[in-house]
Every structure is written in structure tokens, then in C-alpha cells.
């Protein structure tokens, strides 16, 4: 991989993505264009074309190249790609739908809200595991997070029942979205409770969510959580940046000073 990356340029990555002989090169090129945030027209056109690829199929019928292309398009900071990503929400491939929902949040185009809400149809009762698959009927975490990030206050009533979904990460995603949509501390506090979850993956999930919403009362609980310092630092960075955005001047504020002190203790 490192050799391939060292050899890639924007032109060769686009060419790799457009050719159809070597599926591995295409898959890698799609990822690389997103990672390098190559936002020029030719790159976007090639990635949009890759969303319709039929050549790269996984054993379970999925579309690996489409997944990577959908993820890459979320990183390019271009709202024009939103309609193509909305179309991906109808894909037969669960992971294409998940990548599209995540990218729609990053792209930040509120016009995608109705299509995202559609995927919550049937509520918690429909949100069950697909027989024979390791996932639920829809990528609920990504959908809920996108609705929260896009400010979809019209979806609050549909999101609330997911606080009681049997999968805890889905509960966290609902709490994260509802905090973003209402600003009510009950939702942030619920994520703080998640920092005590017995299983490390759940504690990591709560750390990421608290960092994403920048929930200030979580600062000390984050620093105390049993998890890797690297992840706790990322979560505290989210809090620090939320504080700095709320108080742009002066850049030294008592809250930000406290958060930095906690971060320094984790370096």
C-alpha cells in the first residue's frame, strides 16, 4: 500500500479509478482521492461514476468500490455531490447506504434530510437484525448521527424512540443526535453514563460521541474513562474546539484552560 501511495499523483489516481482491469487499483484510488481531499472536477466526476460500478462485487453481493467512492465524496467539501449520495441511500448494499449517510452529514446539505428520515420508517420495531447478516435493517447509527449533524429538528420525534433500541451504540447515536438538536443536558449525560459501559468498544463509542457534540460537562469523566489516551485526547479536543468556537476571543478562557490541563495529563 505504501508503495502504491508513494507513486500516486492526482492524475494517476483518477486514471486508476477510471480503468476497469485492476479492481484493486480502482478501490485504492477511490480511497486515496478522499484521503488526499482531491476536490477537482475530474476527481469528483470519476468518483461519481464509481457510484454506478458493476464490476467490483463482494461475495455477499455488495459493491466495495461504491462504498469507497461514497466515503471519499464526503471528504471533498462539495455540496453538489449530495444528490448522488442521496441516491445511494436506496442501494441494495447496506454499507453503501452507511457510507452515503456518513458522507451526507460531512457534506452538510440539509436537502438530504427527507431521504435520511425515510430510512427510519417503521421505527424501532423495524430496526432488527437482517437474518444471516451482522447488521440491522438500516445503518441506524450513521442515519441518526447525520440527522443530528444536519440539524434535522423535524425528525426529533422519530429519533427519540431509538434511545430505547436494544443495541447500545444505536442508543448512543440517538442521544448524540438529540443533544445536537435540542441542546438538552439529559442527552449529553446519557453519553457520560456510556463512559462506564463494561465493554471497551462501547466506552470508545461514547468518547467519540461526546467529542463530536463538544459536551463540556463530560471533560473530567472523559479523562477518567478506562480507554486509550489517544482516544480520550481526541474526545477532549472536540470539547476544546467547541469551547473555542463559543468564546473566540480571548482564546484563553477558563473552560478551555481546564480542558487543556486535562489533555496535558494524557499526553
Amino acid at each position: 500500500m505504501a508503495d502504491q501511495q508513494a507513486g500516486l499523483t492526482v492524475e494517476s489516481a483518477i486514471a486508476n479509478l477510471r480503468q476497469t482491469d485492476d479492481l484493486g487499483l480502482r478501490y485504492y484510488a477511490a480511497w486515496w482521492l478522499g484521503k488526499m481531499r482531491v476536490g477537482d472536477r475530474a476527481a469528483i466526476a470519476a468518483l461519481l461514476a464509481a457510484l454506478h460500478d458493476e464490476a467490483d462485487r463482494s461475495p455477499d453481493g455488495g459493491y466495495p468500490l461504491r462504498r469507497n467512492a461514497a466515503r471519499a465524496l464526503g471528504k471533498l467539501n462539495n455540496p453538489d455531490v449530495a444528490p448522488a449520495l442521496v441516491a445511494c441511500l436506496d442501494s441494495s448494499d447496506h454499507y453503501v447506504r452507511e457510507a452515503a449517510a456518513q458522507s451526507l452529514e460531512q457534506v452538510g446539505n440539509a436537502e438530504s434530510i427527507p431521504a435520511l428520515r425515510q430510512l427510519l420508517a417503521g421505527g424501532v420495531a423495524a430496526a432488527v437484525q437482517v437474518p444471516g447478516k451482522p447488521h440491522l435493517a438500516q445503518p441506524y447509527e450513521a442515519i441518526l448521527e447525520a440527522l443530528g449533524g444536519l440539524g434535522a429538528t423535524e425528525a426529533i420525534a422519530e429519533i427519540q424512540p431509538f434511545l430505547a433500541h436494544p443495541v447500545q451504540k444505536v442508543q448512543f447515536a440517538a442521544a448524540r443526535a438529540l443533544y445536537q438538536l435540542t441542546g438538552e443536558s439529559q442527552y449529553g449525560d446519557r453519553l457520560i453514563q456510556g463512559l462506564q459501559a463494561p465493554k471497551l468498544p462501547l466506552r470508545r463509542s461514547a468518547l467519540i460521541d461526546l467529542g463530536a457534540i463538544g459536551y463540556l460537562p463530560a471533560a473530567e469523566p472523559i479523562a477518567r474513562t478506562l480507554a486509550e489516551n489517544s482516544l480520550k485526547l481526541i474526545a477532549l479536543k472536540g470539547l476544546l474546539e467547541a469551547t473555542l468556537r463559543a468564546h473566540p476571543e480571548p482564546k484563553l478562557h477558563s473552560d478551555s484552560g481546564q480542558i487543556m490541563a486535562l489533555m496535558d495529563g494524557l499526553l
Partner: protein, 204 residues
């Protein structure tokens, strides 16, 4: 070696599960005995993060007495163990680790090691060195941390700034040039978290 130490070392050697190993390493670390040092260092190479964290904590608590044994073992280490050892050296702050930390802060592959080393360079206990050596060392630390402020990873840049703040407090004659560089970071760094002013008597 005390009987307790021997018992804990035996428990480490026969641990059949990750949990048992971590528990035994914690107990050995809690002894705070110099006799535990070789085993704690050995544990860094077990490829078990929980056990390594416990061993690093124990070595940090032991402090200066652990520094030379760690340095003596570094070359023979595999990659993962070197990373843990650098973390221990960074936290102990003994200037005998200067060369190791300078190299780790600027060149280590793992960002967690660059992060710890950058912070650790700011925390070295300069009082242990003669004055002439001290100033040379501080200049080298300054250069290394100014490089680390350009790291690709935000958390290494953050740690380098924390290190520079500590260095400015330990070596006030460097404060003016450090402050100028931090003011530049406050306006140019792509990450908002790096732009926050840091508290400190030298920074108002």
C-alpha cells in the same frame, strides 16, 4: 529480592490469561522495588497493552533508578516495546534519556510515541546537568520541539506546544523566541484546538 517480588514475578511467568497477567504486573509494579525493574522492562515486550501500561506506570513510579536499565535494553527491543519504553522515559524526565527522546519526538513511526516524547522533552529535570551541558541540551530540545510543531498529527503538535510551554518555564531565556513561535501557531495551525492560548506566566 523480597519474597513478595519473587511471588509476583512467578505469577507473571505462569499467567494463563491476559487478565491474570495484567493483575500480576500491577501487583509487581505496586511493590515499587528496584528488583522488579528487569521484569517490568521485559513485560513491555509481551505485546499486551494492558500489561504494558501497568509496567510503564510502575517504571515511572520507580523513576530515576529505572532509567539506566531501560536505556541499556532499548537497542535489543522490538518496535512495540521501544515505544512503551520511550513513554516511560518521557514521563520520568531524567536527562540521561535526552538523546532517546530527541530521536523519538522527531522520528518515531508511532504518533503516541512522538506525542509522549514531545511532552517529555519539556519536562526534563535540567537541575541534574551541569550548567554548560544544560544550555546545549535546552537548545537542542528547542530545535526538536520547533520541528515537532510542524508534525502532520495534531496531537503531536499539541504535545510539542505543551513541551515548549514547559521549556519556556524551565529556561526563561528561551521564552521570547518560544512565545513568538506559539503566536504564529495560534494563527496558522489548521486545527482550532492548537490555536488556543495556553496559560502561563510567560504568555500574557
Amino acid at each position: 529480592m523480597t519474597a513478595d517480588c519473587q511471588a509476583q514475578i512467578a505469577a507473571i511467568n505462569r499467567a494463563a490469561s491476559s487478565e491474570a497477567l495484567i493483575g500480576a504486573v500491577r501487583s509487581l509494579a505496586a511493590q515499587q522495588s528496584p528488583a522488579a525493574i528487569p521484569k517490568l522492562i521485559e513485560v513491555l515486550g509481551y505485546n499486551n497493552p494492558g500489561a504494558a501500561v501497568a509496567a510503564v506506570d510502575g517504571l515511572i513510579q520507580l523513576g530515576a533508578i529505572a532509567v539506566q536499565p531501560i536505556l541499556d535494553t532499548l537497542d535489543g527491543y522490538d518496535y512495540g516495546a521501544r515505544a512503551w519504553a520511550s513513554r516511560a522515559l518521557a514521563k520520568i524526565g531524567d536527562p540521561r534519556a535526552l538523546e532517546n527522546l530527541l530521536a523519538a519526538a522527531q522520528g518515531d513511526f508511532a504518533l503516541s510515541v512522538r506525542r509522549a516524547a514531545a511532552q517529555g522533552l519539556g519536562q526534563l529535570d535540567w537541575a541534574q546537568l551541569p550548567e554548560a551541558e544544560c544550555q546545549v541540551g535546552q537548545q537542542r530540545v528547542l530545535t526538536a520541539l520547533l520541528n515537532a510543531v510542524q508534525d502532520d498529527e495534531w496531537v503531536v503538535r499539541y504535545a510539542a506546544i505543551a513541551g515548549l510551554q514547559s521549556l519556556a518555564q524551565a529556561a526563561p531565556y528561551l521564552a521570547t523566541s518560544i512565545t513568538a513561535r506559539l503566536q504564529q501557531a495560534a494563527t496558522e495551525d489548521p486545527d482550532l484546538a492548537i490555536q488556543g492560548d495556553r496559560a502561563g506566566p510567560w504568555s500574557s
